[in-house]
Amino acid sequence: MSIDLEQFHETFFEESFEGLDIMESGLLELEQGDVDLENINTIFRSAHSIKGGSGTFGFTAVAEFTHDMETLLDQMRNGERQVSASVVDTLLGCVDVLRNMLNAIKDGSEIDADSVADMTNALKGILGEEQSDSPASTEDASSTVAAKGWSVLFKPELDIMKTGNDTVRLLRELNSLAERVEVLVDNESLPPLVEIDPEECYQSWNINLIGGDVSEDDIREVFAWVDDECELKIEPLADAENYTGVERRDDDRRESPAPDRRAIDRRNKPAKATESSSIRVNISKVDELINMVGELVITQSMLSQFGEDEDFNETHIERLKDGLTQLESHTRELQESVMRIRMMPISFAFQRFPRLVHDLSSQFEKKIELIMTGESTELDKTVLEKIGDPLVHLVRNSLDHGIEAPDVRVKNGKSETGTIELSAYHQGGNIVIEIKDDGAGLNKSKILDKAKQNGLISQDERLTDDQIYDLIFRPGFSTADVVSDVSGRGVGMDVVRRNIRELGGMVEVKSTPGEGSVFTIRLPLTLAILDGQLVGIGEETYILPVISIIESLQVKPECINAVAGNAEVYRLREEYIPIVRLYQIFGIEPKSKVLNEGLLVVVEAEGKKIAIFVDDLLGQQQVVIKSLKTNFKKVEGLSGATILGDGTVALIIDIAELIDLYQKDMARAVVSIKGGGLAA
């Protein structure tokens, strides 16, 4: 029987990466002085599963490497070794190496042998330090090379096969070790055929390994998985050369050694980096879904009865309406349940931060405490995957630029240890992630100087505080004096903003000098559905995200002010908001160009407000977002399209991009006025 092991690879990788994450967080907890036996056990178990899995799938390099880690962890578990910072650091390093190895295997690329060797040496170094007297240590064993051969008595327990072990596999493994292998099977305890339980193992084996540099440990390694389910005696052969007294049962096997099928598989199929990703879903969510579908089927059959009814009359209409209402609510619930399947807790994105902060704080010689709250807040898997990098960037920034060096902090009357707070929570239909530090805050004058120097703003421009802080998100902006390898290359914050915008979210910063800064990211719960406000302009229908709408109002002519002839602003409660005539920007023929015949929709994105002039408000509904990119291209000012109830397509406006478009339009207008003036 052959099973295609490759089908399990994806699961193995997924589980292994999960295991690595568990090990990492466990190790970081250890480091914080919590030497909890249960914790060490958890780490050990993860390492053990990775070792087992990689052994099964033939990733020997990984298995060997993990074995060394396991030895060290085992010592820690048994209290033979003190948990020291250096040991933990080494193990953390091992986790990294292991992750790289697994990634390399997954992508089918070469494993970085140097880093593996370095780490193995570091491990062996630690293991060798105090343990040289222990015969079981790898250090020792690898130096003990068997002179001539070994005699192995392998007597498995009856139910060894029930635990998924295969004795043939073990023998085959032994066969690959030595030059010559002689196997004598002892089947005395084999019962008569009628009494045989095919799932039990009745034989035992006497195996002689002759020649080849085989150490006792190599042999023990083969039996590592079964050593508590068998009787195992390993003795050096007295005189291997002359030893011939064994029936050569193994000959056939040896002459045509079963080729390692996995090795062949790997040779034939060049590993492809599979793009398909999977998702793990809580069973309760699936049950819920099945219930919903059940309800839906009942409603459907109820409704279809009406269609079959010959004499359709008034009384039916009421019931039909009821049925439709039910159908609607079921559809909505079903939709929500399906959405929930894609929802994952944000802890998946957060879990890498303890490690990051640990590494970076030692690199920058800063003392930092990381506080995380709201890790169970759920958001869409796609959003979750894409928010990771921007978050890393922001946390690094806070750590590098925000938090001051310990001595500076003490001088400013703060505690030596800085804090970075990561929190996530729901607000309205959005998820909000905050990265808050109690560092020095953004340096306004430095930002202004830099912006002027880079030509982002003109010399005499006057900006509000928020506008100044917003400059850091502009392309080509960095205030770091020294470009470090984590931040300061000026490609950071604009990329952060762009990535977040791509997810339909926004990022803002608030800062108080001397007290710290808060970066606030707002993201839609899902990328698939949006609460939309339908607006009409001429013949067209556009959709504005309800979330960015502040209010809609009828125009009072006395509140309109013209600025410099062509820009218009609307005075709303002591605030001046630019009026954006959407028909101008999108080149459409509106019903009316007179402001007080239409409506203004005041919207906000990234701290900027505009009032969009539209003909009509048409209603609100949830819309399914369809990408324009699938068959076409990204269009500036639009985040996508949707299909309305009547089957027509309506375009969804991206407020932040619309503001950009408007500003560009204005800039062009200004240029043309200036140009015209000169010509005249």
């Binding site: 067209e540 080149g587 068959n631 076409f632 269009v635 399209a641």
Partner: protein, 170 residues
């Protein structure tokens, strides 16, 4: 007399055939590989996309996906014509890098016919004589004394269309 499978394979060995769907555009007949045609539908209203070239008429909904519609007359700088009863939208699968990745619709005056022609009969086009930019043309084929311009839709609907749009974006 029936044609046996053997006959057909014999035929295949001699000549490779290609089926073309042809359509009219300003009096000329154009052909596209029929395997790329997803469907043919009558002209219906579209949703305009702002800030795109005029020949991109807009987008429509084809069974839940948003498909852009391109007017071939405008694309080839031909004279505008009111859409009428024969005006159709041919929905095509456009390939790039060897796999189908976009669906697009093109508006043409009318569909004409389906021809089965040997690939070898498609001759490279001379550098003049059609309103269509020769870079979009795979070649010319002659059927019953008629000339058919065989279009390279991948080139036409990928490189050119999108390049123009890119320019506008930047």
């Amino acid at each position: 007399m029936s044609v046996t499978a053997e006959d057909i394979s014999q035929q295949d060995a001699d000549k490779e055939f290609k089926e073309l769907l042809t359509f009219f555009l300003a009096g000329e007949e154009y052909g596209v590989d029929i395997l790329r045609v997803q469907e043919i539908k009558g002209w219906d209203s579209v949703t305009n996309i702002p800030n795109t070239p005029e020949y991109i008429r807009g987008v429509i909904n084809i069974r839940g996906s948003i498909v852009p519609i391109i007017d071939m007359r405008l694309r080839f700088n031909l004279e505008k014509r009111e859409y009428d009863a024969t005006t159709v939208v041919i929905v095509l699968n456009v390939m790039s890098n060897g796999h189908a990745d976009r669906t697009m619709g093109v508006v043409v005056d009318a569909v004409s016919d389906v021809y089965n022609i040997p690939i070898n009969d498609v001759k490279p086009s001379p550098d003049f004589g059609t309103a269509v930019d020769t870079e979009f043309v795979t070649g010319l084929a002659t059927i019953d004394e008629k000339m058919i311009i065989v279009l390279n839709i991948d080139h036409m609907l990928n490189a050119a269309e999108l390049a123009v749009i890119d320019k506008i974006e930047s």
